[in-house]
Each structure stands twice: as structure tokens, then as C-alpha cells.
């Protein structure tokens, strides 16, 4: 694990300013710290020699005031940088996933964990670890360089002992790595136990098993304590050893300076500066070690996020995009040409499987309503997703303007009716009501306590199934996309609701190209064209004219 990966700055440009700001403040603080040693020496000298304290005192006060300002800035900057960097990473990650096709997104549970907790754990890394790292990179060299100029024998002692710190740390780390690793695993199992039991408490209570766990919790917690203490003893011992090394080194400087002073081979001021500067060469390095423990999760998450940003975006997606273009360009193009979907030879196989779901599907859908039928499992949903550009076919060509897909479980979130309805569009009040009228939902919404501003729950909680289906149809009519894809829009509705929804679909199809997957005979009858899919292939397609000619 590298202390700092500059890749972070390349992967997240928004992180640059905060990180640079942290570095600048850190360097200034380092310089102020060194200067303070001189001012403090001057004050002590003035006192010892019975000279007026005024001038050095003023210097000292001035420097401390500067340090106060820098400490203030540093606290503010690091808090801001922490939240800014994690926010930037989160936004980039989500943007990448929103652009990527389905096969390039991580599975939802991993994505959720990374987007919420992963990016948050970067915060202490930036807010605490990076400032410590900057201090460690700036202050010790500066202190040693100053010492070398002021009093080289002291500098020599420091130069000889400072490298022992990382070497010592590495040695301790290497000799205890296996034991530590083993303990950490045992530890995470033990500490996970309580969380597991707690999350399962409703289940345990439900089956009358909760009381039995009290003893177990107590004994596992005590075991957790013993194992943790074994791990901590080792960790504390090694940090005590490092501290000992540092203080002994400082004491060595102090004692040698003392002896040299008593021989008169060095001036008092020089000696004082030496003993005040020497500790500055050690503690920043130890602090990095201490902060790193707190930031380790963040470092790990950061590596993971960078991996996702590297694969999730970039040119490959655009290059692979038989169906995916830049959304804005597609929209512009879609306005120029008539809404027609032309696909030929589409082949799609799910990752990790061998049998293609789509095996050379060809389809042409013009303005009006095209209904897609076929037994379940023949890839109708997959076909719609390919047409929508959410999945990229392995073979075949596809020409389609921007599409709006209403999936089987369309996205409805805990928010107002208005924001769910206008999601993804800039539709205003009037357009919203018009869309609701189109699907026959205006009366329902008008009767709600706050009309358009009534809140609904997750997944459309609080609306009936028919109302949900019509709400997402209304949303489709508001969309600027000229192609609307509907996946089983009325499968679970009672006949009355389905009738209203079919009416709305017909209205929608008057202005756009609508492709709907449906088993409803009445919708097939009302379609301008009908395509039947079987075993991943188009087996039958006709238009209303064909059917009318047959009759």
C-alpha cells in the first residue's frame, strides 16, 4: 500500500483543489513551527541574560498568532476537503454507473455499499491522514536541514536515528503480520456476531429464541475483548517502541548538547534551538502511522473506487456502444429524423451464460404502436433493454433515437407525485396535468390532499397498482424521447384499469413510436404492428394492414 497514490488526483479532478490546499497549509505550518523554535529560544535567552523580553516576545507572539491562523485554516480546509473529495468521488462513480450499460455495472449490493459507505470512508483519509502525511513530508526534512545549518552534530544524531523509525516499524510489522492477520479475521468474525444477532433480533423474538442468546452474547463479547486485547497489546507495544526510540533520540541530542555546552564548544542559543527542533523530526512520522490505522478503510475504498472509475467510464464504453451514444446527441438526432427503430441480427448473451437470449433478432418499428408477444423467457425484456441502450448486443446493428423504457418495476421514489412525474424532464405544471389527463389520472391526483405535491412512498407505496401503471405512462408522455418502450404495462391490472391504460397507450402511440411487450389480446388487436418472438428469434410479424387484408 503506497502512502499516497497521485492517481487519486487524476481520477477525481475535483479532488485537486482540496488536496493542494491541504498541502499548502501543511507547508506553511511546517515553516511556522521551525520559526517558533527560534523565537522561543530568543525569549529564553533574553530571560536568562536579563535582557528586555519585548522584541523576542513580540516575535514569539506574532508567530503564535500566525500558527493560530494556520491551525484555524487547517481545521476548516481539512473538513471541507474531506467532504468535498468524498462527494466528488461519489458523484463521479454514480455518473459512471448511470452512463455504463448493465453488464458494466457492479452488482447492486456492492454498488450500494461503495457509493454510500465506501466513499464516506475516504473522508478521514483526506481530512486526517493526508494532512498528517503532508506534515511528515515537510516538517522533519525542514527541521533536519535547519539543524544541519545551526548545529551539525545534533543534525547528525537525528539523521542517524530518524530512518530507524520506518525501519523499526517495518520490522515489527513483518514479524507480526501473520499473527495480526489471523487475529483480525477472528476479530471481525467476533465483532460481526453481535451485529448479526441484533439484526436478527426480530426473527429470534418471533421464534422465542431471543433469551437464549443473552449468555452467548456475553461470552462472545468477552472472547472479543480478549482477542482484541491480544491484537492491541502488540499494536501498542510497537507504537511504544517507536515512541521510545524517538524520545531516546531526542534525549541523546539534549544530553550531547548539554555536554558540549559545558565544554563551551557551542553557544547556548544554538543548544536551545537544537533541543526544540529535534522532536519536530520525529513526531510527524509517528503521527502518520497512527492516522493510517484510522484511514486504512478509506485507502482500501479509494483503490476500489479508482478501479471502478477506470473500467466504468473511458473510451471502451463509447467504442462498444452499438446502442449507446451520447444522450444529448441522440436526442438532437432523434428530433431530426422520424421515430423509427430498425434492428437487425441482434444477438445478446448474458455474462456467465452460454445460450444467447437474443439470437439474431430483426425488427422494424415505425410510428404508432408495435406489440411484441412471445412465451416467457424468450428475451422480450432483454430486447427492450437492448433497444433502450441499457444493454449492448454482442452482434447486430441497431438504429434508434433516444428511447424511454417503462420497465416491469418502473422507478418510483419516496417523493411528491410531481417530482416522480417530471423525473428526467423539465415539464411544468400544465404539462404535468395534461399528461395526467392523458392517462385518466387527473381526477385521482386532484383529489389527493396536496394535489401534485402529495408525497408517495417508495415503489409507489400508497398508490394502487393501476394508478402506478398509469402514473409511469404519464411520465412516458412527458419524456422528450420519441421512442417509448413498454414492458408488460398492464399485466397485473384489473380489466377496468387495463382499459384506461390501453387507451393511454393508444394516445401515446399517436405521436410517437411505441413498442410494447404484452400478452393482452385487446392491446394486440389495437396495435399497428405485431411482432412475435420465440426462442430468441422473430418468428412472425405483421401490420394492421396485413391483418385487415387477411380478414
Amino acid at each position: 500500500m503506497r502512502p499516497f497514490d497521485p492517481q487519486l488526483l487524476r481520477a477525481a479532478p475535483a479532488a485537486r483543489r482540496p488536496v493542494v490546499a491541504l498541502a499548502v497549509v501543511g507547508v506553511l505550518q511546517g515553516v511556522a513551527t521551525i520559526a517558533t523554535a527560534f523565537a522561543l529560544t530568543a525569549v529564553v535567552l533574553a530571560v536568562v541574560k536579563g535582557m528586555p523580553v519585548g522584541r523576542p516576545g513580540a516575535w514569539l507572539a506574532g508567530l503564535f498568532a500566525l500558527r493560530a491562523a494556520l491551525s484555524w485554516t487547517s481545521e476548516r480546509v481539512s473538513a471541507w476537503a474531506g467532504s468535498r473529495v468524498s462527494a466528488a468521488l461519489r458523484e463521479q462513480l454514480l455518473a459512471a454507473w448511470l452512463r455504463a450499460d448493465a453488464d458494466r455495472r457492479p452488482d447492486p449490493s456492492h454498488a450500494v455499499a461503495l457509493a454510500a459507505q465506501g466513499t464516506s470512508s475516504v473522508e478521514p483519509y483526506v481530512a486526517k491522514y493526508l494532512p498528517a502525511l503532508v506534515t511528515a513530508a515537510v516538517v522533519p526534512p525542514l527541521a533536519i536541514a535547519t539543524l544541519a545549518v545551526v548545529d551539525w552534530p545534533s543534525a547528525l544524531i537525528v539523521v542517524l536515528t530518524v530512518p530507524l523509525l520506518p525501519v523499526f516499524a517495518a520490522l515489527i510489522g513483518a514479524s507480526t503480520r501473520d499473527a495480526t492477520q489471523r487475529r483480525w479475521q477472528a476479530l471481525s468474525a467476533l465483532s460481526g456476531h453481535f451485529l448479526d444477532v441484533m439484526r436478527g433480533l426480530p426473527t429470534l423474538v418471533g421464534y422465542g429464541r431471543a433469551t437464549r442468546q443473552v449468555e452467548t452474547i456475553s461470552s462472545v463479547s468477552q472472547r472479543h475483548r480478549r482477542t482484541t486485547m491480544e491484537t492491541l497489546r502488540l499494536a501498542f507495544l510497537s507504537s511504544a517502541a517507536l515512541e521510545l526510540l524517538a524520545t531516546i533520540s531526542v534525549a541523546m541530542v539534549a544530553v550531547t548538547v548539554g555536554i558540549r555546552l559545558s565544554h563551551g564548544s557551542v553557544a547556548l542559543g544554538t543548544g536551545l534551538v537544537a533541543i526544540l527542533l529535534a522532536p519536530e523530526a520525529y513526531w510527524p512520522i509517528r503521527r502518520v502511522g497512527a492516522e493510517f490505522h484510522a484511514a486504512a478503510d478509506g485507502a482500501e475504498a479509494l483503490a476500489d473506487i479508482q478501479g471502478h472509475l477506470a473500467t466504468g467510464t473511458g473510451s471502451e464504453v463509447a467504442a462498444a456502444g452499438a446502442g449507446r451514444d451520447d444522450a444529448a446527441r441522440r436526442l438532437a438526432a432523434s428530433l431530426a429524423r422520424p421515430a423509427t427503430v430498425v434492428a437487425s441480427g441482434l444477438t445478446y448473451t448474458y455474462p456467465g451464460t452460454t445460450v444467447p437470449v437474443l439470437d439474431g433478432v430483426s425488427l422494424t418499428a415505425g410510428p404508432g404502436l408495435t406489440v411484441l408477444t412471445g412465451p416467457s423467457g424468450t428475451g422480450k425484456t432483454t430486447l427492450l433493454e437492448v433497444l433502450a441502450g441499457i444493454r449492448v448486443p454482442q452482434a447486430g446493428t441497431l438504429s434508434t433515437p433516444a428511447a424511454h423504457l417503462v420497465s416491469q418495476r418502473p422507478f418510483l421514489t419516496a417523493d411528491t407525485v410531481r417530482s416522480n412525474l417530471a423525473l428526467g424532464t423539465a415539464a411544468g405544471q400544465d404539462a404535468c396535468w395534461q399528461a395526467l389527463r392523458d392517462v385518466g389520472l387527473d381526477g385521482v391526483v386532484a383529489a389527493m390532499p396536496q394535489g401534485l405535491d402529495t408525497r408517495i412512498g417508495d415503489d409507489g407505496f400508497g398508490l394502487s397498482a393501476g394508478q402506478r401503471a398509469r402514473l409511469v405512462l404519464a411520465r412516458a408522455t412527458l419524456s422528450e424521447a420519441t421512442v417509448v418502450l413498454l414492458d408488460e404495462p398492464t399485466a397485473h391490472l384489473d380489466p377496468e384499469s387495463a382499459g384506461i391504460a390501453h387507451e393511454a397507450i393508444r394516445t401515446l402511440a399517436a405521436r410517437r413510436c411505441v413498442v410494447a411487450v404484452s400478452h393482452r389480446p385487446e392491446l394486440v388487436a389495437a396495435a399497428d404492428a405485431h411482432v412475435h418472438l420465440e426462442q430468441g428469434r422473430t418468428t412472425h410479424s405483421d401490420s394492421r394492414q396485413d391483418r385487415e387484408a387477411q380478414q
Binding site: 529564553v44 514569539l60 485554516t73 447492486p108 426480530p202 443473552v214 472479543h224 475483548r225 417503462v406 422507478f411
Partner: protein, 557 residues
Amino acid sequence: MNRTPAQNETAAVGRTRLLHPTPRTALAGLLGGAALSAGVALTATSGWLIVRASERPVILTLLTAIVAVRTFGLARPVFRYGERLVSHDAALDDLAARRTSVYERLIPLTPARLGTRGRADVLTGVVDDLQDVVDAQVRVTVPLIATTLTGVATAVLTALVDPGVGLAVTGLLVVAALTSWLAWWLEGRSQKELLAARAEVSRVSELVAQHAGDLQAIGAGEAALGWVREAHDAVEAATRRQSRGRALAAALLPLATAVATVVAALTVEPAAVGAPVAALLVLAPFALADVLSPLSDAMRSLARAQASDARLHDLLDQAPATGPTGHRLPPATTVRAPHLRLVGVAASWDGARTALPPVTLDLPPGTTLAVTGANGCGKSTLLAVLARHLDPASGRYEVDGVEAREIDLEALRSLIAVVDDEPHLFASTVRENLRLARPDATDTDIDAALAAAGLAAWRQELAAGLDTRLGAAGTGVSGGERARLGIARALLSGRPVLLLDEPVAHLDHPTAEAVLHDLFAASAGRTVVVVSHRPDGLDGAARTLDLAAATLALEGR
């Protein structure tokens, strides 16, 4: 929440006890004080040594100081090591005790007092809050004791030598105490706002990550990123506000140090105390500043721990949702389902707002009933009353003709298996996960239950059979499989009444339908009540109750 005055009192006591040191934390604080004092002494005696040496005395007179410098140098890490060992061991011991007691206090409150949805998240919050509260000992109590000891010792010793310097050091300590208080106050004030903003970021980013494909499908990617940005702006604003307290503390301490050092330099009389001691005294405030600077971190932890403690008390100080019961045993109905009857039963979670308007419902043995109705009409409340998780506010709940409150609570609950929308899978084997519903079940019983819940094919695929581990570190399980495992557990329990609360809320249409279809097929002879806000798969139930309409009809009568 329903709190009696007595409970409020214990809550207040619990809150003030947050920083109360146990003997072991006191010992840790003492050791910490010794470590910090050694650090101050190291800087001060080094100064004395240097100045004394510059007077070129006989080397022997320096020897004491040299030994002192080395001793202080050795003592600091040794004491600190001791302090950390003792404080962490004490905290872990305390954690073990508190975990057990919090768990025990939660049992009677589960599930009714944990909210109706997202209970697992509430319980995760309890685990985190508990950790924060216990951390306060290591991060707040011990540093406070150690710093106070060192500060007072430094002030007293310097004052003995030179009262003026003692006064300067005392002034520094007072300023440090005041800024710490200020930092704590500012931190605590913005805590709530920051937590709320962070929760919103988590909610929004989880929503977007979970539904990236769905958002793409409707062209709402940009809008979704807009939500995330908005939530981030709120967090950034809150973070900035909260960092004010710490920034102020961080800035005031150097200023106070400068003032104390200059005052010490002006008041000290080298002629009276000697040059070396004068140097020692002038360096004292500077050495002390290092000790005082971690206080703002301690205040941050304190504010956090107090917020966590308050949340824990709010949860734990609630009264159970079921009152005392009689001790009648339910009729022997282990084979046959009891006859359940609600007569004009209304219920409320908080005693104020009616969550379930009066409803009358007859459930003869073997009834399968689907309860539908719009959100908020009391479906889950109805189920909670049936499950005896919640006492009715009025009306009668009869079990085979006997008022439910006269029947022993545990005995009655043992007739009823409840499956909610998030059945928990423990980090254990498939066998143990199921057997918790019936400890004496054989592998054959378990296999039968899995098959009945539609998991026969899944069972065949398991790498280690029933020994396959599930849960956090185990095999991944899909949402449908999780719902089915919850149902398998309920079937295995052999309990004659099955109550399912939104069992398929998180599943897609075909899976939801298949799961419920298998459920109705497997539960012949039992009384089954399914609550769902979605119609998928409910046609398998013999009866359907639109609760909103039912309660309305009763009211209108």
C-alpha cells in the same frame, strides 16, 4: 413516546453517567497523566539542562539532570503503553456488559417498538451508538483526567517556584477549558443537522446506485445526479459549520500559549530562581500546549457519544407494546389452528394516533386471507395485533373464544409464525438458520420445508448441502431466495398460524407471484394471513380483505 417520570429520571442518570470513571478508567487516566507529565517534564528539564550546562559547571552537577531527562524520556512511552492497555481493556469489558444489557432490554420491545419498516437498520444503529458511547471512556474520560492532572500539577509546581508563572500557566489552562467547552457546544449544536444531511446522502446515493439501470431507462440520470449534488451541498454546508468549533479551539490555544509564555518571560526573576530554572519556567507553557491540543478531539467524541446516548435512551426507555397477560394456556392447538376472532379491534402504536380503526374479522382454522388496501390503512398494525406484538386499544381479540390478553404471551406467540419483508439470515449454516424455528427438526424435516417453500432446486445446488454457510460472509442469496427461506423457516416451525407482512415487497412480479403461489400451496390446513400493498400472487388466497374499505364500512354502520 410513553415514558413515565421514573423512566425519565433513569434516562437523565444514564446521560450524566457517560463520563463517570470506573476504577479502571481512573487508573488509566492516572497513567495517562503520568505519561503527559513526563512529556512536560522532559521538555522543561531539557531546557534546564541546556542552560545550566552553558554556565559550564562541573560535569557531575549535570548528571542528575541527564538522568532525569533519560528517565522522563523512558517513562513517557511506558506510562502511555500502560494507559492504553488499561483503558481499552476497561472499555471492552464495559462494551461486553452494555451489549448484554441493551440486548436484554430490547427483547420485550421487539418488534413493535422498533418501527414498522427497516428494523434491521434501527438495530444496526443501536450497535453503532453503543460503540460510540463506550468509546467515550477511551476518547474522553481518560484524556480529560490525564490532561487535568498534568495541567494542575504543572500549575502548582510552577506557582511554588514563581507565583507569576503559575498564574500564567493557570490562565492557559482556563482558556483551554473554555475553548474545549465552546468546541463541545458548537459541535453538539450542529451534530443533528450534519447527521441528517449525511443520512440524506446515504439514502440518495443508495437509491441511485441501486436503480442506475431504471433511471437510465427513463432518461433520468442527470436528474438523479442533481439529487446527489443537492445532498452533498447540504453536507458540505453542515461540515463547514461544524468545523467552526474545532477551528476556533485550534486557533485559540496557540494564542493563549503565546500570551502565557510572554507573561512567564516578563514575570520570572532569573536573579531569584537562577537562570536554568527561569528557562524551565518560560518553557513550561509551551510544553503544556502539546498536552492540551488533543482536547478538541475529545470534545468531538463527547458530543458524538452524547447524541448516541440520547438516541439509545429514546429507544430503550419505551414501554413494551404488550401489557401484562394472564397465565391461561392456549387450548391444545398444536395440530389444529386456533379460531381467531377480532371484534371491533382498534389499535395504536403511540397511544395517541389510531393506526387501525375498529375492524371485525373472523378467521376460522385453515382460513387463507389476503389483506390489501392503500398505504396507511393499518394493514401491518392489524398483523401486529394478530401476532400479539401489540395490544389492541379497544375491542376484543379472541383465541378459541378466550380473550387473548388472558392467555400467557409466550404460549400464544408460540402458535404464530411471522414472516416480515426482511427475514434475517444469520451468519451460520442453512441448517442452523432453519432449525432456530424448531430446534428438534431433523435434516429430513428441513429438506421438506425447503422443498415446500420452492427451494428444492436451490438446495440441490448448495456446495456443502445444509452445512453451507449463509449470511454476511456466506453464500450470496437473492431477494426471492431470502423470502423463501423466511417462509421455509415458518413452515418448519410447525406453528399453525402464519402471518406474512409484505413478504414480497422487494421482489419483481414473476418472483413475487411464484413465491406466494408456493406459499399457499404449502400451507394447507394452516391459517394464513398475507399483507401486501401489491396485488401480485394474492389470488391464491381464499379470501381477500380490502382493509380501507372494511374499516370504512364499520365506521359508517
